[in-house]
């Protein structure tokens, strides 16, 4: 990892989004939105459907390239970057509709999250001995910790395609954690879960935040969950920023009530 990420201490700004605008062939997805994410916090991005939440994440981890605006991550400012670069910079994410590697086992999925950290050369990879095996084992140990942490021992070697949705989401979280990210983006981590699963997931998110001190930015529809989990909330609507602040401030904000909470389920 780069030296910069240690220079940022808890509470300081880890990532700043500055007047970002994004559009697809004329259709505006995000209009001149700015907000920041502080090291060590849980930051929620909420808003009605089509508010541009997911697009925002895609911009942050470099999958979409905004037409205007800048993004400052760990002190480095840029208008766009390649996703793989974002990843190597320490940004990991999960997806709205699970994007696991269906053909692989839980273990391999999470292991693949370690790819960036593995570097044994091709030759040894061919032999699967010496350094390659040593490395493989080292990272297996790391991954096993995550498996233990997420309590998915029982499905370690099950192909993820066979898993129920709730577990898949958990595995995906595990895969993201395996990257030891500085910033973890969660796109509706609890979508389509039942109450119990939601409770588990929230517990995991909090534990991740406390245990690994990972900064988390999450999109979530379930207001209750958001308000419990997050330190600060930014509200988007039609691609514009509507409000930004602590859960209570946001709850109190009239615009928000009109636009969102009013019609919340």
């Amino acid at each position: 990892m780069s030296a910069t990420d240690h220079s940022i201490r808890k509470g300081e700004v880890l990532l700043a989004v500055d007047q970002v605008s994004l559009s697809f062939g004329g259709v505006k997805a995000i209009t001149d939105v700015s907000f920041d994410i502080r090291k060590g916090e849980i930051r929620a991005i909420i808003g009605p459907n089509g508010a541009g939440k997911t697009s925002m994440l895609n911009v942050i981890n470099g999958f979409y390239h905004p037409q205007q605006g800048r993004i400052t991550f760990k002190g480095q400012t840029r208008s766009k970057m390649r996703p793989s670069v974002a990843a190597s910079q320490g940004i990991a994410r999960t997806f709205q509709n699970v994007a696991l590697f269906k053909g692989m086992s839980t273990l391999d999925n999470i292991m693949s999250g370690r790819t960036l950290k593995m570097n044994s050369n091709f030759f040894w990879q061919c032999l699967r001995h010496g350094p390659a095996m040593a490395e493989e084992i080292r990272h297996r140990e790391f991954v096993e910790d995550i498996i233990d942490f997420l309590e998915i021992q029982a499905i370690r070697k099950v192909p993820v395609g066979k898993l129920p949705y709730g577990l898949q989401k958990r595995v995906e979280l595990g895969r993201a954690l395996a990257m030891e990210p500085d910033l973890l983006l969660l796109d509706e981590p609890m979508a389509g879960m039942n109450l119990e699963e939601k409770e588990d997931m929230s517990r995991f998110i909090i534990d991740v935040n406390t245990q690994y001190g990972t900064t988390i930015a999450l999109i979530e529809h379930d207001m209750g969950v958001v308000m419990d989990l997050s330190d600060r909330v930014v509200v988007l609507e039609y691609g514009r920023k509507l409000a930004d602040g602590t859960p209570d401030e946001v709850k109190a904000d009239q615009n928000v009530i009109d636009a969102y909470l009013g019609v919340a389920h």
């Binding site: 997911t54 895609n58 997806f95 709205q96 994007a99």
Partner: protein, 318 residues
């Protein structure tokens, strides 16, 4: 320096020097292009309607031609032979729908793709088994197709237009127009287009997918027959044609898998492009570049427009 001259300048000097030859080459390319386009058309029809990348299209061309000639040789009068051949193509369409498509519905594309390979092999074997492996003469006269050529004096030379080529071009045009009408005007045609968009839509039109597949494959079969006749008339009918049929693939890339106009334009570009390339640049490297030029043109093209000429831009979402 000399190389650069040979590659970049000399060919054009030649074109200028003998415009008649140039026109001739263009014309040849044009006709080949038309035939490419016809094969490509078969692909597009099927891909649009059933999402199947029908590798067997090339073979269907050969098979149709072969059947026609074969039947004639067995003593059927030409017109009847044509009808019977159409019948055969229909049976083929039904068979494919029953035996291949229906059981494989909802399988990944690659699987269906492979299945059409199976069909290819099957047809080759069958065709040769029934009609023998050796090349045949297309029964041009019996089908009242013109022979000989018209020589036109122009640009200080003679340009030769084979009548059959003209006929081919004309028929191809007629064919395409007919298809266009079929798609725009008829109920089935509309259904077919609906399928291209979404299968549910098709059902709403009140035609079962299976029927649609049969129709589409049959249509493709007709196109194949016509192509077979034309091509057969120009060279002869044999399975050697199948490799040429592969030329339809670069055409598809240029035109996009789902666009009929694309197929036509693509066909012409490829046809003319490779003829020019062969005639003017080929000699520099010992000729025979026809065999791959088309692909490289397509490849180069892809790098700049992955979705093809008429395909629409792909926005990846997550």
């Amino acid at each position: 320096m000399d190389i650069l001259f040979k590659v970049l300048i000399d060919p054009f000097l030649q074109m200028g020097a003998m415009p008649d030859l140039f026109v001739q080459t263009i014309w040849d390319g044009f006709v080949t292009g038309v035939l490419y386009a016809l094969i490509a058309l078969g692909f597009v029809l099927i891909f649009k309607a059933s999402g199947v990348f029908n590798f067997a299209q090339g073979i269907m061309v050969v098979f149709a031609g072969l059947t026609l000639v074969g039947l004639y040789e067995m003593g059927l009068p030409a017109p009847l032979a044509v009808l019977v051949t159409l019948g055969v193509m229909f049976v083929l369409a039904v068979a494919i729908e029953r035996v291949v498509l229906r059981p494989l519905v909802n399988q990944p594309d690659i699987i269906l793709f492979m299945a059409t390979f199976g069909i290819t092999y099957f047809l080759i074997g069958l065709g040769e088994l029934i009609f023998g492996g050796n090349p045949k003469q297309m029964i041009t006269d019996q089908l009242f197709l013109p022979r000989g050529a018209i020589e036109v004096k122009m640009l200080g030379g003679f340009v030769q237009f084979q009548k059959i080529d003209i006929a081919a071009a004309v028929i191809a045009v007629v064919m395409i127009v007919a298809l266009a009408v079929f798609f725009q005007k008829t109920r089935i045609g509309r259904a077919l287009r609906a399928v291209a968009d979404s299968h549910k839509a098709a059902l709403s039109v009140g035609i079962s997918l299976n029927q649609i597949w049969v129709i589409v494959w049959f249509t493709a079969g007709i196109v194949a027959l016509v192509t077979g006749i034309m091509w057969g008339a120009r060279s002869d009918v044999s399975f050697g044609l199948q490799v040429i049929a592969l030329k339809a693939l670069p055409v598809l890339i240029l035109g996009g898998f789902t666009s009929v106009p694309g197929a036509i334009v693509g066909g012409l570009i490829i046809g003319i492009g490779e003829k020019l390339g062969e005639f003017y640049w080929g000699p520099l490297v010992g000729g025979g570049i026809e065999s791959w030029l088309a692909y490289c043109i397509a490849l180069g093209f892809l790098l700049f427009r992955p979705q093809g000429l008429f395909g629409d831009k792909i926005i990846e979402r997550i």
